[in-house]
């Protein structure tokens, strides 16, 4: 069969080969982007809660301290979710009949817990401890972002292992004086490097990157 292939076949087959290579590269690249994407990490998406609790209002507006509700953040691995009772301390007086708080009053009456949806959820084989981080001068805002600007709370950071290691390797870039741990609007000074280094010494912060630091 003389000259079976038309002249265009030459360009077609070469383009096909090129396309194959490009396609594979692109797929790999997109995949890499996806696993790092805020979507995959569940970042930046406000979670709908049974009660539309607004940190923006309570923290930003009323200036309530984190520890008023998250009572155990300084002494336990778990920062604690406030019991209904805590809500009722105020809301038995103010907004006592507001329909938006119906669920809260109901919970208090029936003794059934409010079913909050977890916002910051680490894999179950990761053991994070709030107390030690707070104790070593890591601000709430460093991980949780500006909750005082969140009408509904969302996950501010990716919470990937990469992200954790970033601070575990260079605490001096993130550590702040203990008295500012609960400040939402704390801005690191220009000399953060020096200050950080100083605090790392002062608070005896170790650069812990052993596996068993978090995985047990």
């Amino acid at each position: 069969m003389p000259q079976f292939f038309p002249r265009t076949a030459n360009s077609i087959i070469r383009l096909a080969l090129l396309a194959a290579v490009v396609a594979i590269a692109t797929i790999a690249w997109l995949g890499a982007l996806f696993v790092r994407s805020p979507y995959e990490m569940g970042q930046q998406t406000p979670r709908n809660q049974p009660v539309p609790f607004s940190h923006q209002h309570h923290v930003g507006g009323l200036g309530i301290d984190c520890r008023y509700c998250h009572t155990t953040v300084e002494k336990s691995s778990f920062a604690n979710i406030p019991p209904t009772h805590t809500c009722m301390n105020c809301h038995s007086e103010m907004w006592a009949v507001a329909p938006v708080l119906k669920t809260v009053r109901q919970s208090y009456r029936t003794g059934k817990s409010i079913d909050w949806l977890r916002v910051h959820d680490l894999p179950d084989f990761v053991y994070f401890n709030h107390a030690i981080h707070v104790h070593k001068g890591i601000g709430c805002e460093t991980c949780h972002g500006r909750v005082d600007r969140m009408p509904l709370t969302w996950q501010a950071n990716s919470l990937t292992m990469n992200w954790c290691l970033n601070c575990h390797r260079h605490p001096e870039d993130f550590v702040r004086p203990r008295e500012h741990v609960f400040d939402m609007d704390y801005t690191p000074p220009r000399d953060q490097k020096e200050l950080g280094a100083k605090l790392v010494r002062e608070y005896r912060i170790q650069r812990l990157t052993s596996c068993s630091t978090c995985h047990r």
């Binding site: 069969m1 079976f4 292939f5 030459n10 087959i13 890499a32 696993v35 790092r36 990716s158 990937t160 292992m161 990469n162 290691l165």
Partner: protein
């Protein structure tokens, strides 16, 4: 000196003794081309092919079922336990990889050594390599506890900031085997391009013409192309030669790097490579003997080929026998009580049968190859090859389980018992291999046509030299 002689000197020094061509004298360019291409293009598929293909499909059945069950239940369906945490899968892996080696040896090393006779068997030997490596590659995956995160063994930028551990021989393995597979495929395909062109030019149907036309990438046989083709082939051969040695060396590292008595030994690399080639040639013969009979290729794959392969088997077999002898000496000389215990356990322990089977199949029976009659007669040769192939599997099995089942602390000693699924998987992998090979025989030139042409006496310009 005549042009012809000059030609011979430059390319193929006549073998000592008989300078007779390795293929029957009456063959011509056309006849060899016709004969080989017709298998693919014109001749009707023989019953033998269908039978084997069917058998292979049954094997595939085993393969599919057992893999599904394995992935559904976990490693518990196999015989593996503590202390013998490696069982069949790793044995099969080492065995298949070993089989692959003969292909590369024939195509690469013999090419470098100007062993012209290999030209008529290298093509399907290479095919055998590729399919064997494919089978081998599956087993490490199967034997993983969590195969779905296999990719963690490869280095790639990830959100965990954790990478492979390059001190582990298993990581070396991944690189070695994948490299080996890639290089083998390239080498195979590169060599096949001109023959695909032959198939293209002789195909009657548009479909076939298009298929082979694309596969051969529009090969024209221009002299410059031939030059580059040759130099690329030679370089690939040059690369494949150390590669093939390295692959089984790295595989042997999986054992030698461990501190286990009976594994932690410096003779393993040569030991494994020799064993690999040994089993490889056995497989080559097991494939070649039926093929030449069925497709009447006796004129291309002659007695001489069988004879040479058999001789190589004998040689590598003797190397192996030497290492078998050397191991006890090694243990005794080291003075390490654990080493000696393992040697003793291999020969006389509860799993001694594996050891003696190995000796019988790899050392005793193959001695029959000293007799020319055995070497050149297809039937006995086929039998010996099968025995050797089985023996080599048993050897790897023996090496793995006897060391693991009785290491340092008697408190954790326990013997290995294979499960049904262990055997089903092994059978299945053989099915996969045969299936691929049958497809290859049916649709691709199983003998390298252009290299056979070079073997023809009149392949070199006659007369007409200047001066």
């Amino acid at each position: 000196m005549s042009f012809e002689d000059e030609q011979r000197m430059s390319r193929r020094p006549p073998e000592p003794g008989t300078s007779v061509a390795v293929i029957a004298p009456h063959e011509t360019f056309r006849s060899v081309t016709d004969q080989i291409t017709s298998v693919v293009l014109t001749r009707r598929t023989p019953l033998f092919w269908w039978a084997t293909f069917g058998a292979a499909l049954v094997g595939i059945g085993f393969f599919v079922v057992s893999t599904c069950w394995l992935f559904y239940k976990g490693i518990a369906v196999l015989g593996n336990q503590i202390p013998v945490a490696w069982g069949y899968p790793i044995t099969n892996f080492v065995w298949w990889i070993g089989i692959g080696h003969a292909g590369t040896l024939i195509s690469a090393i013999l090419l470098l050594l100007n062993q012209s006779w290999r030209n008529s068997i290298n093509r399907f030997a290479e095919a055998m390599t590729i399919f064997a490596v494919a089978c081998a590659g599956m087993f490490p995956v199967f034997h993983l506890g969590r195969a779905w995160i296999l990719y963690w063994i490869l280095p790639y930028p990830n959100t965990m900031h954790v990478q492979p551990q390059f001190r582990s021989p298993l990581v070396w393995d991944v690189f070695a085997v994948s490299t080996y597979a890639t290089v083998s495929v390239l080498f195979w395909y590169l060599g096949m391009i001109p023959d695909l062109a032959s198939l293209r030019d002789r195909s009657k149907s548009k479909l076939a013409y298009g298929f082979y036309g694309v596969l051969c990438l529009g090969w024209r046989g221009a002299s410059r192309h031939w030059r580059w083709h040759e130099s690329a082939s030679l370089l690939l051969a040059g690369l494949a030669t150390p590669l093939v040695l390295s692959v089984h060396t790295v595989v042997s590292f999986d054992f030698t790097i461990a501190i286990l008595p009976g594994w932690h030994s410096t003779i393993f690399p040569p030991y494994f490579v020799a064993g690999a080639i040994y089993s490889g040639f056995a497989m080559v013969l097991i494939l070649a003997i039926p093929l030449r009979a069925v497709y009447g290729l006796q004129n291309l794959v002659t007695e001489r080929h069988l004879n040479n392969c058999a001789k190589l088997m004998l040689a590598t077999g003797l190397i192996l026998a030497y290492t078998y002898l050397f191991e006890p000496f090694n243990a005794w000389y080291s003075g390490d009580p654990y080493e000696m215990a393992v040697v003793n356990n291999r020969a006389f322990g509860p799993e001694a049968w594996t050891f003696w089977t190995t000796i019988l199949c790899n050392v005793i029976i193959p001695q029959s190859l000293w007799f020319r009659w055995v070497r050149v007669n297809p039937k006995p040769l086929f039998f010996v090859s099968c025995v050797v192939l089985y023996g080599m599997w048993m050897e790897r099995f023996m090496l793995i389980i006897t060391s693991l089942s009785r290491d340092f602390l008697p408190s954790s000693w326990a013997n290995f018992v294979a499960s049904f699924w262990d055997n089903a998987l092994l059978l299945g992998s053989i099915g996969v291999f045969v299936l691929f090979f049958m497809l290859f025989v049916r649709f691709l030139p199983m003998i390298s046509i252009f290299e056979v042409r070079e073997l023809l006496p009149h392949s070199s310009p006659t007369g007409g030299s200047e001066k």
